[in-house]
Symmetry: C2
Subunit: 254 residues, 2 copies
């Protein structure tokens, strides 16, 4: 079992190390991740510039690869044969914040797993629903164990074609977890606000600020599962067609 | 009718101008676009740095705004009130290449329209299926007229909630168009290949190269419609849940 581990927070992020260490219990792990943080970067394919790849060492002394490309580039490069080996599974994470609701379209963690599925490899994204504005080092141990259990199921039973697994783990100790829930993507309420400021030279600049997004707490959704203390596993698809809307639009007289 | 026009190719791209000029026939147009090319950039929300906004002039002498943010930032900023007005519709494009199949997850053009829908505004993405490796200036006139007709329908009849319209126009003269087809997202076949080179100092670097992607020519898909000379209109959704896969996963013993 050849497993590629990546993330969108950069190769030295603690969530990546925790994930890689657990994945090693399931097979041979290659770590290939961006050399910097690419959070909220979306699904990027870098074609306008060449990419560099470096060998580096993780905090536990193991070897990893980093690149100056985006998370999806860090999946594409090894899947295109850069390391002269084939992979069976791509696991992305562990993101220090939940990726739920509309977050999935922005999320570098999720789009790295999407890239794997587009390239015909199974892909899992793992995120930790850490408390808002948490200070100090996060404990990724529960999320890493959950990631291993989910990956083990994927290795054993496979996944329906074209499915990307989006896994979100509550910030709880392992024995506090209520269990696992297969969920649908919920609704995210963004509370972005424009924060206009003046620079030292009197010229305006703008932050996209505001409060953290909240979720609509509904049963059966990713957000609902997390709130209730369950691991949320949402199968995502790459076919974005809104089939029901097709019938409405077919009545248009263009 | 307040219409926001944006793109992912940069504020001075000819496709943006062609689109803005046609949209002016439907209402008041504000152009707000990135100050550089962001193709294949995905859905980005810039939160780690502040954004600058500049007033600029398009080739036809009209005023436009540009920002150093991504396409979705260029939608978020005005929708968050930067220009002290409200918008009814966001139209993104005209992209010089088709955005079909899995392209939609990478496409800055499409994700700008997605950002509008996440923020509760109607969003349309418009792309031109120009011939491969076409040299010289593209003729955006047909695509711009198509964009106006589609936008007019959206203004008149609305759109189902949460739907982003992804419009792709064949590279044909207006009277050569076969008509309009409501389509589903097709399958895209990427033919990326790793192109490893050595720099002048003997160090390796890597291009994501290879041939242009092709599509699986199937009836009812975006790619199929374009091949047959039809405008393709695909309703996209922001709920990426693979509902059928949920039943499969619910049988997992985790």
């Amino acid at each position: 079992m050849e497993i590629l581990v990546t993330n969108d927070d950069g190769v030295q992020a603690p969530g990546l190390l925790a994930l890689a260490q657990e994945m090693r219990k399931l097979g041979t792990v290659t770590v290939f991740a961006p050399d910097r943080n690419w959070s909220a970067s979306g699904h990027v394919k870098t074609m306008d510039r060449p990419l560099r790849v470096r060998e580096t060492t993780l905090a536990d002394g193991t070897t990893a690869y980093s690149s100056d490309g985006a998370p999806s580039d860090c999946v594409a490069l090894p899947l295109l044969g850069l390391l002269e080996k084939k992979f069976d599974l791509v696991v992305s994470g562990i993101n220090p914040n939940a990726n739920i609701g509309h977050d999935v379209t922005y999320s570098g963690t999720v789009t790295a797993a999407m890239e794997a599925v587009i390239d015909g490899i199974r892909g899992i994204a793992v995120s930790l629903d850490s408390p808002e504005r948490f200070k100090g080092p996060l404990d990724y141990s529960t999320a890493a164990i959950v990631a291993r259990r989910v990956a083990k199921m994927v290795i054993k039973d496979g996944l329906p074609d074209g499915v990307v697994l989006n896994v979100n783990v509550p910030y709880l100790k392992k024995d506090e977890l209520k269990g696992y829930m297969i969920t649908r993507q919920g609704l995210r309420v963004y509370r972005d606000a424009l924060d206009a400021r003046l620079d030292p030279r009197g010229k305006p600049y703008y932050w996209i600020g505001g409060e953290s997004p909240t979720g609509v707490e509904e049963e059966g959704t990713d957000f609902g599962a997390l709130k209730a203390g369950y691991v949320s596993i949402t199968p995502l698809q790459l076919d974005l067609t809104h089939y029901k809307a097709m019938d409405v639009l077919k009545k248009w007289k263009l």
